[in-house]
């Protein structure tokens, strides 16, 4: 045997990286960002996932900053928003939706107690905008317009600011101090609000301002078709709430039996308020079925838990002092046909509160050339929210049948963008939105079932708001339940599972595919819990 024959073959260590296995690849992983459903349905476009991610890392201030990029009222919204976000939360297909609304309230309250302020305004543009009405829509518009650098004045007909948040939503759901605190932040930006200043002549205002945003709400009660004998105790819900706001609660008292007529949120609020003002038995009378009630599910639930009864399939024909004559109804949910069943009944009520809807008082816009009020009683606007009169925009309850504070705020935000574009002679940039990510695209093997945070049950029927005191840890825990649908949350799965060491973790924690070695197996895409990696055909 040749003495030079080596005992073993020695290959230099660490030489394999010469072999660029990236050439094997036919599919290539790409980090993508998809639209989480919560964000997609939020009328104001809150980036819920992003602020939750700050909350989960305990950075509540930054969480708040992210909320107010799209919605200047976290503490108010955290109380009264009907949170469609939670309905579509992907986590509800796994265990229970993330308690977004409660967290928003917690973060909003923190901002108030710490005195957090909005960031500074950009340099002044010299343009002046008039906002007619200080409801959520007007306030939101003012906030965004101010942030664009415009000078803003709000004229409000009533004595107090806030629109229906103040004169509608009852105080046990939204304390006045919260409204004050969140409005003060907007006036601190330099927005001028004049109360007791009803605008009656829009035409003359347009000469004094560069643009006008009309958001006068819908505050007139619709009168239902019925006979009311004189001397009967009947009040419209909106008038009841107005009275309570103007004159404080002790001015109104109810006797034993109260009937509330209507099926919306206002009816529910009126019924709950009656209970707090002395009524012992409160019945809501509604013409259709429980499932077709427009009131929000959680509101209905709370009313029922307070002992309020809902009498469905009934309309009121006559109110004759304490006697309320009822027609029983048939309702076919499929066809939507509502008809009298022929049966009648008589209920006893010391008072009846009417809450069958509101309409807009259109006197302020009626005589302005170009402005059209539709048969449905709303102001017509174009796709840029401008009315037929140049420079006059409109939004909120006055232009929409979806009457919620959240939608009103969304209009304020959009309206401000359109007004800004109008003032600058530009078009609003239409950003293309990524696709919404659904539950099936997530890999939930990395999550564990955990119950959602809930409000404590109602313990007493009181004029005071139900208090919650969440610890920072509780907020972090709940925020951590977010699946981060469609966007990387830096779990490292792709980095740990790549058999090729082809995922690089950069200093800032972001991840990058090393195309020299990625063979395109796709493990990273399958194991990404968020659906934030997509395999694309290699070019």
């Amino acid at each position: 045997m040749d003495n030079n024959c080596p005992f073993a073959t020695v290959l230099s260590a660490t030489t394999s990286p010469r072999n660029k296995t990236g050439s094997w690849r036919t599919m290539c992983p790409r980090y993508i960002n998809l639209m989480p459903p919560c964000n997609a349905v939020c009328p104001t476009g809150e980036n819920v996932q992003r602020w939750l991610s700050f909350a989960r890392s305990g950075n509540f201030r930054q969480a708040w900053n992210v909320i107010v990029q799209n919605n200047p009222f976290p503490a108010i919204m955290g109380r009264i928003c009907y949170h469609t976000c939670e309905k579509v939360c992907n986590r509800s297909h796994f265990d229970e939706a993330v308690s977004i609304n409660i967290l928003e309230r917690a973060v909003g309250d923190m901002a108030i107690s710490h005195g957090w302020k909005f960031e500074n305004v950009v340099p002044a543009t010299g343009k002046k905008v008039l906002v007619v009405g200080s409801g959520p829509s007007g306030l939101a518009a003012a906030y965004f317009l101010r942030k664009f650098g415009h000078e803003v004045e709000i004229k409000e007909a009533r004595a107090l600011t806030g629109g229906m948040m103040r004169y509608g939503v009852p105080r046990f759901r939204l304390p006045g101090s919260i409204i004050d605190a969140e409005i003060r932040r907007i006036t601190d930006l330099g927005v001028k609000i004049s109360c007791n200043s009803r605008v009656s002549d829009l035409g003359s205002e347009i000469n004094k301002f560069d643009a006008i945003y009309v958001c006068i709400g819908a505050s007139k009660a619709i009168k239902p078709d019925m006979e009311v004998k004189s001397g009967s105790s009947v009040i419209d819900a909106v008038d009841l709430f107005k009275k309570l706001t103007n004159e404080q609660s002790h001015s109104v008292k109810f006797e034993k039996n109260v009937i509330v007529y209507g099926g919306g949120n206002t009816a529910i609020d009126a019924a709950r308020m009656a209970l707090r003002l002395g009524a012992e038995k409160v019945n809501i009378v509604y013409r259709k079925t429980l499932s077709s009630m427009p009131a929000h599910e959680t509101e209905i639930h709370e009313a029922l838990s307070e002992g309020i009864k809902i009498l469905c399939l009934r309309t009121i024909r006559v109110i004759d002092h304490r006697e309320v004559l009822i027609d029983k109804m048939n309702y076919d949910e499929e066809s939507g046909i509502l008809s009298k069943s022929g049966e009648e009944e008589t209920l006893i009520a010391d008072s009846v509160i009417l809450a069958v809807g509101q309409f807009m008082d259109d006197s302020v816009v009626r005589n302005i050339e170009g402005i059209v009020v539709t048969d449905g009683g709303i102001i017509e606007t174009d796709e840029y929210m401008m009315t037929g009169a140049k420079g006059i925009f409109a939004g909120g309850d006055a232009t929409s049948t979806k009457r919620t504070a959240t939608v009103a705020i969304a209009h304020g935000k959009k309206g401000a963008q359109y007004i800004d574009a109008y003032l600058n002679g530009k078009e609003v940039e239409q950003k293309s939105k990524p696709d919404v990510i659904n539950f099936k695209k997530l890999n939930t093997s990395y999550y564990f079932s955990s119950p959602r945070l809930t409000l404590p049950p109602i313990s007493s029927i009181s004029m005071e708001e139900r208090t919650i005191a969440l610890t920072g840890d509780e907020i972090v825990t709940e925020a951590s339940r977010c699946f981060s649908c469609g966007n990387c949350h830096h779990c490292n799965n792709c980095y740990v599972y790549c058999p090729e060491n082809a995922i690089q973790k950069l200093l800032d924690g972001s991840l990058k595919v090393n195309h020299d070695y990625c063979k395109g197996c796709g493990i990273c895409a399958v194991e990404c819990p968020c659906g934030a990696i997509k395999m694309m055909p290699e070019k």
Binding site: K20, Y446, F448, V496, C521
Partner: protein, 323 residues
Amino acid sequence: MSYSTRKKTSTDNANCVQSRTDRRNTLMSGHRACQGCGEALAARCVLDAAYNATNGNIVVVNATGCLEVFSCVYPENAWNIPWLHSLFANAPSVASGVASAMRVSGKTKIRVIAQGGDGATTDIGMGALSGMFDRNDDVLYVCYDNQAYMNTGVQRSSSTPPLARTATTLPIGSYMGNDAKTGKNLPKIAIAHNIPYVATASIAHLFDLEQKVATAIGIRGSRYIHVHVPCPLGWGIQPSDTIKIARLAVDCGLFPLFEAKDGVVRTSFTISNIVPVEEYLKPQRRFAHLFGKNAAPNVIAHMQKLADENIKEYQLMGENTHG
């Protein structure tokens, strides 16, 4: 007897050695394993964990098999640690020799690891391994179980599961693939040798795997870890589904995760949602005949029975807390 149990938590992956930017990458990029190879991934994870636990004081002896062939193809070498390869059958003996050499030269800090596929471990190297266990030589032996001889074209090994198709157990007519009653359970055989530490692990549960490696590397004497590693080629699965399939093997009970010390099983890893075996079997082409029209009745029931027996034996459903 009841075992203490461990459950996976959501922060497992974030806390593992693999998620660190300073992990060793003991098996480097540029190796020639197939796309989505479970064995390549597992080897890096096991050795990175051992490297981390010993501050880099490891020597690895490798049996012949995919792991050796794809990592050192002339003229390249993907290993980032001292590593040697001799034969298919003799990795345990070579490792015993290396361990003795370390002992006599006073380098007791250096820990010896031997590794190989299931063929090397349960078949051809079985005698050498049993001898190593018997002498309680100071070696950690890691078997990467991809359940067949993959390197040479997917032939059956004694670790091939019942009813699986391999190149040598092709289901034809009423023949349903690998015999349902043969095969060896190597973890049990290792436990029967009364060595100080035996564990099973899965690449779907990296934190658990790393913990087991760290525990094993800290013990003197013979130790054995049996890692379940899907092989996209041999099993007929999508390369992207390697981890998913590994997870399902654990979740259905067919691959129980446990730890035994001094001949007694002490800890098991509980399953939060036990899934039917079909979920694991169906995506794999090697089991496709069990779902075809020629499938003998009860084949699935037989597999389910095996899983159920594991669930019972290892108390995989137990809600016991960590202890």
